[in-house]
């Protein structure tokens, strides 16, 4: 797993994807921080982060779309899948490398709470809550996008599939807000990323919401493993 992790992380930066992602992420976060925090005289980061969450629906698939599609296309998956190593380890190595890239990009935003703290009052609980939540959500996003990447040889198709799926998860409760059915709105509230995110961003650590994000991540990593394993049989 370590070998895969290191190769992937390196590939992000030699291939340019990593730099572009970090740049785009910092730019967006900076704009949002300026628009929603500084210019509004707000020390609250909630809106900055919840907007980042939407932006990540489009940013993360652009980084993860190559994870499996490219291996399949360049036939390098023949090296990985004939090595004495579990498919699960490969999937995890790739997952953690992408998560690491996200964390590197996220580090840049640490400057905002520091600035706010220096010139205003910082609500530490809310800030920490938001950081935990965005990392958990990013992990889930990466797992979902990695799964989509394992489905198609085409990077574009896998990116589009990820964006669609993530948007669906995100906007689920908006879609079902109109419904009067108890069951449907219950399901949508249960599955919706936005609902799960709300408590965290208020600075409350909610175990059930954390479990939701972790389960979503684990589930999709497991699906990815199954898809890759299944290729041997096709």
């Amino acid at each position: 797993m370590k070998a895969i992790f290191r190769r992937e992380l390196r590939a992000y930066f030699t291939g340019g994807y990593g730099w572009v992602f970090c740049g785009a992420f910092s730019l967006l976060a900076g704009l949002l921080y300026f628009a929603l925090s500084i210019s509004q005289y707000q020390s609250d980061f909630r809106h900055v982060f919840s907007n980042m969450l939407v932006a990540m629906i489009f940013l993360i698939p652009l980084v993860t779309m190559r994870i499996w599609s490219e291996e399949k296309k360049q036939k390098t998956d023949q090296l990985l899948l004939t090595a004495p190593i579990n498919v699960g380890e490969i999937v995890l190595g790739k997952f953690f490398a992408a998560l690491m890239l996200f964390l590197i990009a996220l580090c840049v935003t640490l400057i905002y709470p520091i600035l706010t703290h220096a010139f205003g009052t910082l609500d530490v609980g809310v800030t920490v809550g938001n950081y935990i939540a965005i990392i958990l959500a990013a992990a889930a996003y990466i797992a979902v996008s990695q799964f989509m990447s394992s489905l198609s040889e085409s990077q574009i198709i896998s990116a589009l599939l990820s964006m669609l799926t993530l948007s669906a998860f995100y906007f689920l409760d908006l879609i079902f807000q109109a419904t009067t059915s108890e069951v449907l709105s219950g399901i949508s509230r249960f599955l919706s990323i936005i609902t799960r995110y709300r408590d965290f961003s208020g600075g409350v650590f909610s175990l059930s919401d954390a479990i939701y994000f972790v389960s979503l991540t684990v589930l999709f990593l497991f699906f990815t493993t199954r898809v890759i394993e299944k290729r041997r049989w096709s």
Partner: protein, 307 residues
């Protein structure tokens, strides 16, 4: 070292490999010969665990490729048809990655240096793989298969797409690798198996049609007595003239040249020259025809059917 029993692979309704069986003992260099689409790559992919068989079993160094996949894979180095290279890495980085991926236990620096020296990569270790020529990329592919010092090497068309000099180099390399490894290499080039392999397994349409020592198989194949002639003058006269020679079984003219098939073991060259001269037909070129791959496969497949 390698045991294959009744191995088969079905893709949907198409049966790519139909129940093949053979064993390879330690130290053999086996040429897996067959036309494109015969099932060579599929068989190799099943041996290395990239694909799963739909029937039968295979084992490497005593480990079943499905039940003991982990141990079996440790004993195999694999060069697929397209070398699995990451173009954004240097040769050194790539080989280090493969070393870690395969959890090799040899001393890292020494092991990788040895392999590079052996396959002739020492001078390009710091270069990016994407900047290497096809021949060097192929060598990186072979180097990658050697990492961890596996007992068995499986090489899928290792010389395809190389220039003649590189082909000779890679063949010599494979021969030297055969001294301390068990090697299976696939190819559709007959001179290649003759030059490199100690044993030939011929596969066609997913079935083994011949299996034996290289000399035996080649002797079997060399029996056909055919000649190619280029003759000036009227075609009908020429065909009648050639067909009239004692011992000639068949005369045809599929292209520019006449193909003359004669009885096995009979040398008709003198007769052809004299007969053509007598009819005042200038003989422009004349040679014994090399057996083409197609005709060899046709013969082997027919033989397989008769047995």
């Amino acid at each position: 070292m390698i045991q294959i029993k009744n191995l088969s692979k079905r893709y949907g309704s198409k049966e790519a490999v139909r129940g093949i069986s053979f064993c390879v003992s330690k130290g053999e260099i086996v040429g897996f010969l067959g036309p494109n689409g015969a099932g060579k790559s599929t068989t190799m992919n099943m041996l290395t665990g990239y694909l799963s068989a739909t029937g039968g079993s295979a084992s490497i160094a005593g480990f079943d490729v499905l039940d003991d996949a982990y141990e079996a894979r440790r004993h195999v180095g694999y060069l697929p048809e397209q070398p699995p290279l990451y173009f954004d890495m240097t040769v050194n980085e790539y080989l280090n990655f493969v070393y870690e991926l395969r959890r090799a236990t040899q001393k890292k620096e020494e092991h990788i240096s040895d392999i590079c020296a052996r396959v002739g990569l020492s001078d390009v270790r710091a270069r990016l793989i994407k900047n290497l020529s096809k021949g060097y990329r192929q060598r990186v592919g072979i180097a990658q298969a050697l990492i961890g010092d596996p007992d068995v090497l499986i090489l899928d068309e290792p010389t395809v797409g190389l220039d003649p000099n590189q082909i000779v180099e890679i063949r010599n390399l494979i021969k030297s690798l055969g001294e301390d490894h068990t090697v299976i290499l696939s190819t559709h080039i007959i001179p290649e198996v003759v030059a490199v392999c100690t044993r030939i397994v011929v596969i066609n349409e997913g079935k083994i049609v011949a299996d034996g020592k290289t000399e035996e198989i080649m002797q079997d194949l060399g029996g056909e007595n055919r000649y190619e002639a280029e003759i000036d003058g009227d075609e009908d006269v020429a065909i009648a003239c050639l067909a009239g020679i004692a011992g000639v079984l068949d005369v045809s003219k599929p292209g520019k040249k006449y193909i003359i098939t004669a009885k096995e073991g009979l040398d008709i060259r003198k007769d052809v020259f004299l007969a053509a001269a007598e009819q005042n037909l200038p003989l422009l070129s004349f040679a014994k025809a090399e057996s083409s791959l197609e005709s060899i496969f046709a013969r082997l497949t027919n033989k397989g059917g008769e047995n």
